[in-house]
Amino acid sequence: MRFLGLTYLGAILAFLYLPIAIMMLMAFNQSPLYELPFTFDLVWFKALAGNERLLTAGWNSVWIALVSSAIATSIGTVAALGLARNEFTGKRFLQLMLFPPITIPWLIIGTAMLIFFFWTGVGRGLHAILLGHVALSLPYVIVVVGARLATHGPELEEAAASLGARPAQAFFRVTVPLLAPGIVAAGMFAFAVSFDQFIISYFLAAPGTSTLPVEIFTAIRKGFTPEINAISSIVIIISMSLVLVVSRFYRFGGER
């Protein structure tokens, strides 16, 4: 029974990782038509180094993920504090409002943003993508930081205040250090959400300038080369390393 179970688990893990492994392997294969036998070569990474279009898109993806996660983490953390440390009418409503952006399919949100930004004159382009990515990350940040806040009550801040700390002192020297693991995890979460986002970026990208996933999609539809495997492998490795780092900061349950 145990043997059967472990075999099944192995098969599922193989199913999850096999396509990714094959894609990475093909990035190092010499043949432009994905033909075997496998001949190790870095030709596709060299080609990638000269591909201005993909590199620019890659750089756009990185800075948009950095800026959007910085914005989402700061205003999201502040909102989580407002929600967690106060009781007020409408609090339940505000908490419920976090779910539509997470649950409504991105196709619908993306097309709505396209229509709205176009109609109001905000237009398409990297700035529109940035606006959209912050919105997508915000609910995650508020939920993750909120979960961390729920693990300890306001007693420590109150103790600091009764010992003479000003509100700002209590905030920066008690609340922030306590929240730090949650904030770091939320920030990396937000980075991952933005860095991997395709659908919203696809609708909001202006012709010619876009993020990496959009460029990859365009390239796939035009008929792809192992260059795409090379850049895709790099993208996968970045995301996976990021999640491994997050998992050291944050267990998906709130406590460390």
Binding site: G5, Y8, L9, I12, L13, F15, L16, Y17, L18, P19, I20, M23, M26, Y34, I75, V78, A79, L81, G82, L83, N86, F88, L94, M97, P100, P101, T103, I104, P105, W106, L107, I108, I109, T111, A112, M113, I115, F116, F117, F118, W119, L131, V134, A135, L138, P139, I142, D196, I199, Y202, F203, P213, I216, F217, I220, S232, I236, M240, V243, L244
Partner: protein, 269 residues
């Protein structure tokens, strides 16, 4: 702290985040709803009048309602496959593996789900064109989507299985239940909230998927998601695309409304 001052402080804290959400998610959805009742996009001095024609088209033109049903059918297949494949994984994780090994395998299962969905879908084109050669077929779409959403099923079922008190199963066994009976009468019913949560988390995004069908499906890719996408990127009939988006949202809300009492009933037990 006086009430008014506290109110001001809370407003100050939550306003930036919620204003951002209002201006980039909720207001756009409201505007899109309005556009779905217009004959044209009112930009650049174009005449636009109110109409129901796009919603009428959805019900009268076969291409729309039929492909909406195809999207639901796809979502049903993918959800079923994820639950059937994922349930044993969750059981094995909770009952056969412990400690650090469990943590490591759990992480390995959710890791791909945090990587780029587009790139993962692309990676299947290598496998499916090779020895099996089923690329650009309906099964290819199902395989790609199951690969993308299986971790959701494992995650939600695992969480509910972990919450089950081990002693309940031991009690059933001590009272003479066979392993099968203990599973069917104790473990399975207690884990249903997790299964249902997984069903929702998978069914909704798969109904709205367009990228996976586009990359893996070839001519089998014609479903509601890709049809909506093409209204915005190819044929530029935005009001029709908006109406179709809202029909999709309505279908999803209907599914949620039908499923919610079921979920609630199992939560209360």
């Amino acid at each position: 702290m006086p009430g008014a001052e506290k109110h001001l402080r809370v407003t100050f804290l939550v306003a930036p985040a919620y204003l951002w959400l209002a201006l980039t998610v909720f207001l756009p959805l409201a505007v899109m709803l309005f556009f779905s009742f217009l004959t044209a996009v009112p930009v650049g001095g174009r005449e636009a009048t109110l109409t129901l024609q796009h919603y009428v088209s959805f019900f009268t033109k076969k291409i729309y309602w039929y492909n909406a049903l195809r999207s639901l059918e796809l979502a049903a297949y993918v959800t079923l496959a994820c639950v059937v494949l994922g349930y044993p994984v969750a059981v094995i994780l909770t009952r056969m593996i412990t400690g650090r090994a469990r943590e490591a395998i759990f992480l390995m299962i959710i890791l791909p789900f945090w990587t780029n969905a587009l790139v993962r879908t692309f990676s299947w084109t290598m496998v499916l064109r090779g020895p099996f050669d089923i690329i650009f077929t309906y099964p290819a779409i199902v395989i790609g989507l199951v690969h993308a959403y299986l971790p959701y099923a494992v995650l939600t079922i695992y969480v509910s299985l972990q919450a089950i008190d081990e002693r309940l199963i031991e009690a059933a066994r001590a009272l003479g239940a066979s392993k099968r009976q203990a599973f069917m009468r104790v473990m399975l019913p207690l884990s249903l909230p997790g299964v249902l949560a997984g069903v929702f988390l998978i069914f909704i995004p798969v109904t709205g998927s367009f990228m996976e069908p586009r990359i893996l499906g070839g001519k089998d890719a014609i479903m509601l998601g890709p049809i909506i996408e093409s209204q915005f990127t190819a044929t530029f009939n935005w009001p029709l695309g908006a109406a179709l988006s809202f029909m999709m949202l309505a279908i999803i809300l209907l599914m949620l409304a039908l499923g919610y009492p079921l979920l609630q009933r199992h939560m209360e037990r």
